[in-house]
């Protein structure tokens, strides 16, 4: 790739740049910052699709009382029960049970706190669940 052809399609990196290695007119390699490349953005967008769908579905299921708020926040953090279980140090089958609203409601405060800590949120917020669950994924971003 010649350094003149390093793509500058603004995309995933926000304010940042990715570094590409490309040759100059004398064939010598140099580092060239790239704002992004269309195929890269297309591939990345497509990878979010299943996660977005999972979060939306968990939001709907929370709303109609079929899943606990934990299921919604788990999906928002792109986790499945197995990964969340590693974070709280529980076996996955227990986390799966906590996705049921009736069982979640009876959880001890200590356990709720452990879940809330993983998501970096307030225990009351976790117990209450989202008010507008279909919104975008509430991933913490740089403020």
């Amino acid at each position: 790739m010649n350094r003149k052809n390093v793509p500058q399609d603004k995309g995933l990196f926000g304010p940042w740049h990715g570094i590409n290695y490309a040759v100059d007119d004398h064939g010598r390699y140099t580092k060239v910052p790239s704002a992004g490349w269309a195929p890269q953005s297309i591939a990345n967008e497509l990878s979010w699709e299943p996660f977005r769908e999972a979060a939306e579905q968990a939001g709907r299921e929370f709303k109609n009382g079929r899943k606990s708020p934990l299921a919604y926040y788990m999906a928002c953090h792109l986790m499945d029960a197995a990964l969340l279980a590693r974070y709280v140090g529980l076996p996955a089958w227990r986390v799966k049970r906590h996705l049921r609203p009736d069982i979640f409601r009876k959880l001890k405060p200590g356990l709720i706190r452990r879940y809330a800590e993983v998501f970096g949120m307030d225990t009351d917020e976790l117990k209450r669940g989202p008010s507008a669950p279909e919104g975008p994924l509430p991933i913490r971003q740089e403020s």
Binding site: M1, V6, G11, L12, F13, G14, P15, W16, H17, G18, I19, N20, Y21, A22, V23, G27, R28, Y29, K31, P33, S34, W37, A38, P39, Q40, I42, A43, N44, L46, S47, W48, E49, P50, H77, L78, M79, L83, R86, Y87, G120, I139, R140, Q141, E142, S143
Partner: protein, 337 residues
């Protein structure tokens, strides 16, 4: 080793986290080497396609050697002694970091990218093999030099701790590392030869179809069957995953192929071997083909091409990449590597 001062730390912006972290750490300790040189010395170039191992539900595909491989190998070949420590206690892991910072020692950390707030949201998946340098602490914030971002950033202790103790595949387990013994002016000649031979062996001598050049052919054969085997939708997601591994997460373009070409160019100069310059050109051409593969895949993802011919075209390009890489490594062997 000279006594360091954190304000001396210079942040360099690089393609790949592991090689970039090392350039910045070594530079601080008075050894200035390029990223491509460290990448090559660490035998970073690789390929594997392991469909039976799933990463976020997708077949594991890698264009580079296993995580921390570049750190371990390049440091060893340069005669630099690294201290690498893991922790099972968060508090102790943060205290150990603080203690090193107080002594003026910048520290490399393995981190889960999902928890790092300065990373653009689109890139924040659960990927735990990221690397960064922490080079200071003030006002309750860490000074972070993440080689894949343009400038140094800051990170709160809470966010940094989460990233250090991310869970799942490649969990960092609080891993931190730093050079403890840096010999001045290492002899690069034998190190370069060793590194190139190692790369060639790993690309052509692993007798399993999933690794190296055979791995590229294996992926090529599989790709064509994806739409039939998994359905159009899943096939597109799997294809998107390959492109992300190749282009998105700090490869320097074309799944590290361009960085390897840059390395061979430098090695040619240092060893005064013109043959390596010619081979470097071949690697560049191979990288260009990988970029064409990404473009061809993007057409499938955007439904701009009939899937049957699209996947067949993708297969053909991959087969060509495999043939080119076979030729590259044969040429390297002929040149004495």
């Amino acid at each position: 080793m000279h006594v360091p001062d954190p304000s001396d730390f210079q942040h360099g912006h690089f393609a790949h986290c592991e090689s970039g972290v090392l350039v910045n750490l070594f530079n601080y300790h008075g050894i200035s080497l390029s990223e491509s040189l460290i990448f090559g010395l660490g035998s970073g170039l690789f390929f594997c396609y392991l469909p039976f191992i799933k990463v976020q539900g997708m077949p594991m595909t890698s264009f580079r050697s296993y995580p921390t491989g570049i750190i371990r190998k390049s440091a060893k070949r340069l005669g630099i002694k690294m201290k690498i420590v893991r922790f099972n206690n968060r508090g102790r892991a943060m205290a150990a970091l603080d203690e090193l910072l107080a002594r003026g020692q910048p520290v490399g950390l393995q981190a889960g990218i999902y928890w790092l707030p300065y990373i653009p949201p689109a890139l924040r998946f659960h990927f735990n093999g990221h690397n960064l340098v922490v080079y200071g602490k003030a006002d309750g914030h860490y000074f972070v030099s993440d080689p894949v971002v343009d400038r140094p950033v800051t990170c709160s202790p809470d966010d940094l701790m989460r990233a250090r103790f991310a869970e799942g595949p490649l969990a960092p387990g609080g891993k931190m590392y730093y050079p403890v013994e840096v010999p001045p002016g290492p002899d690069l000649g034998p190190a370069l030869a060793k590194a190139i031979i190692d790369t060639r062996h790993r690309m052509t001598h692993i007798p399993l179809k999933m690794f190296g050049v055979s791995g590229i052919r294996y992926l090529a054969r599989q790709i064509e069957q994806w739409p039939r085997k998994f359905g159009e939708r899943r096939a597109r997601q799997m294809l998107a995953w390959i492109i992300r591994m190749q282009e998105e997460i700090g490869t320097g373009g074309a799944g590290f192929r361009f960085m390897f070409a840059a390395f061979l160019q430098e090695a040619a100069k240092m060893l005064q071997k013109e043959a390596l310059d010619e081979i470097s050109e071949k690697v560049t051409a191979d990288g260009d083909r990988w970029r064409e593969f990404a473009l061809s895949a993007a057409r499938i993802l955007k439904r701009k091409i009939d899937p049957a011919s699209g996947y067949a075209q993708a297969r053909d390009i991959l087969m060509d990449c495999a043939a080119r890489e076979q030729d590259i490594f044969t040429s390297l062997k002929k040149a004495g590597f």
